[in-house]
């Protein structure tokens, strides 16, 4: 009854069933809640971390001169354009003087007239003086009356006073003219310092109000960055610290710099601290003002202590901690974290000791009952 062909069939059937069972068992154990969670494990090391602060800022000029008229008026001419280099005292433009020149000429005439008046008063006074002296001599030889001498003396005094009045009048005319000339000079838009014209807001013919900027001059040697740092990470930020500046236009070329000052006033709304960062060298060509830059400040390195990657830090029941691998199982250890650097290393002040093995990455969220299998890297995640 039990021939060989039947046995072979039985064997084949059993083989198929065994394969099926094996696959089933594999599937049941490798997926679902029974499957172990793939984790990567790291050993806690002791080293120092160099905490860093990262912020973004814009290029600004420390010295920025906004040149415009002190009174409302019309722009007559502009001699410079954006990008021009100007020297201190150089004429950059002029406001329309309207009737100022005519008024100066009128005052010129008035001055000449008062000069003539002064000359006339001088002549009158000289004549009155001569007359008075002559009559005094005649009185000495009793050839004239005392009354006539008194009259001549009074005439001399009057002539003296008239001369003083005309002189004062001449001075007034001169000063008035000087004032107008000063006004006229004030209409000239002059560069207050050496620099570069960075903006020309209006063109000749435009009417501008008092204080409105016509031309802006910046000093390219005084470029710095106004950087904003998140307040939560600014402990230890102080002036003089070295920084790396990455201008948005020069992505691949970080520039060295240093913190010039940390502003005493922070932004309460955006919760940021502001600081000024200087370039170590003058940039040529100059980056445009307002360009965005990323600034990394390296703070003073903290002392050596156990360091873990920040990816290992988890939160369980409201407490920060790490999953520690103890005898193949997991236990959650709460830790107190200290300084951290920008590469994701964070110091542990308490909770862990050097040599402890902790879970860094896991394929899914862990709990104390999770079975784990330690792998080099989690599958599906790029190295």
């Amino acid at each position: 009854m039990k021939g060989l062909p039947l046995n072979r069939r039985t064997l084949a059937f059993v083989a198929v069933l065994v394969v099926l069972l094996a696959l089933f068992a594999y599937v049941a154990l490798r997926s679902g809640p029974l499957a172990p969670v793939a984790v990567t494990v790291a050993t806690v090391e002791s080293r120092s971390v160099a905490p860093g602060v990262f912020g973004i800022g814009t290029v600004e000029s420390r010295y920025r001169y906004r040149i415009g008229p002190t009174a409302a008026g019309r722009v007559k001419r502009l001699l410079v354009d954006v990008g021009d280099t100007v020297a201190a005292g150089q004429l950059m433009g002029e406001m329309d003087p309207v009737d100022l020149d005519d008024r100066i000429r009128a005052l010129d005439a008035a001055y000449r007239r008062s000069e003539a008046s002064v000359r006339e008063a001088q002549l009158r006074r000289d004549f009155a003086q001569t007359q008075a002296e002559r009559y005094e001599q005649l009185l000495a030889v009793r050839s004239t009356s005392e009354e006539i001498v008194a009259t001549k003396q009074q005439e001399r005094h009057a002539a003296d006073a008239a001369l003083l009045a005309t002189r004062a009048e001449r001075a007034r005319a001169g000063d008035e003219r000087a004032a107008l000339v000063a006004q006229r000079t004030n209409l000239r838009l002059v560069a207050p310092a050496d620099g570069l014209v960075s903006a020309r807001d209006v063109d000749p013919g435009t009417t501008v109000v008092a204080g409105q900027t016509v031309v802006e001059v910046v000093d390219p040697r005084s470029l710095w960055l106004n950087v904003r740092f998140d307040q939560s990470s600014t402990l230890g930020l102080e002036s003089g610290l070295p920084t790396t500046i990455l201008l948005r236009s020069r992505r691949g070329a970080p520039l060295p710099g240093r913190v010039a000052r940390v502003e005493l006033r922070a932004d309460a709304v955006t919760e940021e601290t502001m600081a000024k960062v200087m370039f170590n060298s003058i940039l040529d060509p100059m980056p445009p003002i307002g360009e965005l830059a990323e600034v990394t400040v390296v703070l003073r390195a903290a002392t050596s202590s156990p360091v873990i990657p920040n990816a290992a830090v988890q939160r369980v029941d409201g407490q920060s901690g790490v999953w520690q691998v103890v005898r193949g199982g997991l236990s959650f250890t709460t830790v107190t974290l200290g300084a951290s650097d920008l590469d994701g290393n964070v110091q542990v002040q308490s909770g862990l000791t050097v040599g402890d093995r902790i879970v860094v990455y896991s394929a899914k969220a862990l709990n104390a009952r999770s079975r784990i299998t330690v792998v080099d890297r989690i599958s599906g995640a790029a190295p």
Binding site: L6, R9, T10, A12, F13, V16, L17, L20, L21, L23, F24, V27, A28, R30, S31, G32, P33, F54, G55, I56, T207, V209, G211, Q212, T213, F229, D230, S232, S233, V269, T270, E294, P309, N310, A311, V313, Q314, R315, D317, G318, S320, L337, S340, D341, L342, D343, G344, V346, Y361, S362, A363, K364, A365, L366, R377, I378, G380, A381, A382, P383
Partner: protein, 400 residues
């Protein structure tokens, strides 16, 4: 006593096994469909789990931030922190959009997370590679489902972000993978759409005579600055101090901050009861039909298999085999087929589930229920077949 069923299977085991495999694939599809449904619900739960929050504070009278748009001032969290029972409160923004890397773009939910240390509400709770965000700008942690790798530079609106970490199972309720970026950048991304839009809005403002007044030179700049600043977030995620009841703290925040607060069960109700209700029902309906069709096919296969052996059964009856023996043979074969089918189905579902674009969750309860259903269906189907077999006339063995 020899096993009649075993003998019969041995006789044509290839046919038997292949029928079982065919059946198994059908069962696999049914199990997968159940997994798709479970995956959908789990996506909603994962969204809530991953936020790490116990309370969601949103704009008053909205179902935000997942089911409805919600916006509240980004300094609201300060007054929420002052409420008794609140341990942590963090701003968060959500924005579903296309995230572009070098040559392709991915639909993703961009999450803006507040700066702080790992474990801040809203942060990805665990990583599979890289590190958490340490800079307050231009860094991103992405879900592996986005396909991004560490070091990739991705573009979100106007800025480029470096992918510094990868995580897993961080999805929106719609199953879109998440990309985590610093809050300030996310606020800007929500508001400053692109350079053209910024320019156009600036032009529009400057053409408005109310804002561009020649007598007030600084006004236009001030207006534009205030227009290009976004001080809104979508929600504040709150974690409670131990010993405080979520409902009490929620009531306190609602009453004194005049905002709407959801607890975990309420949020789950919104997500599963409202947001994915229709699509979940759609899948559920399909699952029911598929289950019925599978059951019918299993029954037909067993029935026709029995009918195919009707001659042999007649012979058995002719030689005086008892009805019980014949019945148990048919039932054993049917159950065997069911078992093979179930095993194949489970294996197939487990192997192809990871290749689905959205999450497929095969839970043991479904597997056990599926197993029981298969056994019951096989038994019922074999009963019909047994009835047909017992009614066969032994004379058929010789006749026709």
């Amino acid at each position: 006593m020899i096993s009649l069923a075993g003998r019969d299977i041995q006789h044509e085991w290839g046919k038997y096994v292949f029928t079982g495999i065919g059946l198994g694939l059908l069962i696999g599809v049914t199990l997968t469909m159940a997994g798709v449904y479970r995956g959908m619900v789990d996506d909603g739960r994962a969204l809530l789990d991953n936020s790490g929050a116990e309370l969601w504070v949103v704009q008053k009278e909205t179902l935000g931030p997942y089911a409805e748009p919600s916006s509240l001032n980004d300094d609201a969290y300060r007054s929420i922190l002052a409420v008794q029972g609140v341990a942590q409160a963090a701003n968060v923004t959500y924005l579903t959009m296309q995230v572009r890397s070098a040559e392709r773009d991915v639909r993703a939910m961009v999450v803006g997370v507040a700066t702080g240390e790992a474990g801040t509400p809203g942060w990805p709770p665990y990583l599979v590679a890289g590190r958490q965000i340490t800079r307050s700008h231009y860094e991103a942690v992405a879900d592996v489902a986005t396909g991004f790798a560490l070091g990739d530079r991705v573009r979100i609106r106007r800025n480029e972000y470096a992918v510094v970490g990868l995580t897993r199972r961080m999805v929106s309720s719609g199953g879109d993978p998440m990309v985590f970026i610093p809050l300030k950048d996310a606020q800007e991304a929500q508001f400053l759409k692109d350079n053209d839009a910024v320019l156009q809005s600036r032009r529009r403002t400057s053409e408005n005579p109310a804002f561009n007044r020649p007598g007030v030179p600084g006004l236009l700049d001030a207006v534009i600055t205030s227009q290009t600043r976004n001080s809104f977030v979508n929600a504040v995620l709150v974690r409670l101090r131990s010993g405080y009841a979520a409902d009490n703290v929620a009531a306190s925040i609602e009453r004194w901050q005049r905002l709407t607060v959801y607890t975990r069960p309420q949020m789950e109700g919104i997500l599963i009861g409202k947001l994915i209700a229709t699509s979940a029902k759609q899948i559920g309906m399909f699952l029911v039909i598929l289950a019925i069709v599978s059951a019918a096919i299993v029954a037909f296969i067993i029935y026709t298999m029995t009918l195919g052996k009707i001659r042999e059964i007649a012979v058995l009856k002719l030689i005086g085999t008892r009805n019980r023996t014949i019945a148990s043979m048919i039932m054993q074969q049917a159950l065997g087929l069911g078992l093979i089918g179930f095993a194949v189905g489970k294996i197939a579902a487990s192997f192809w589930a990871p290749f689905f674009p959205k999450y497929v969750l095969l839970i043991p309860q479904d597997t056990i229920a599926g197993f029981l259903a298969v056994v019951v269906i096989c038994m019922l189907a074999s009963l019909i077949a047994i009835r047909a077999a017992l009614r066969v006339d032994p004379a058929d063995a010789i006749g026709g």
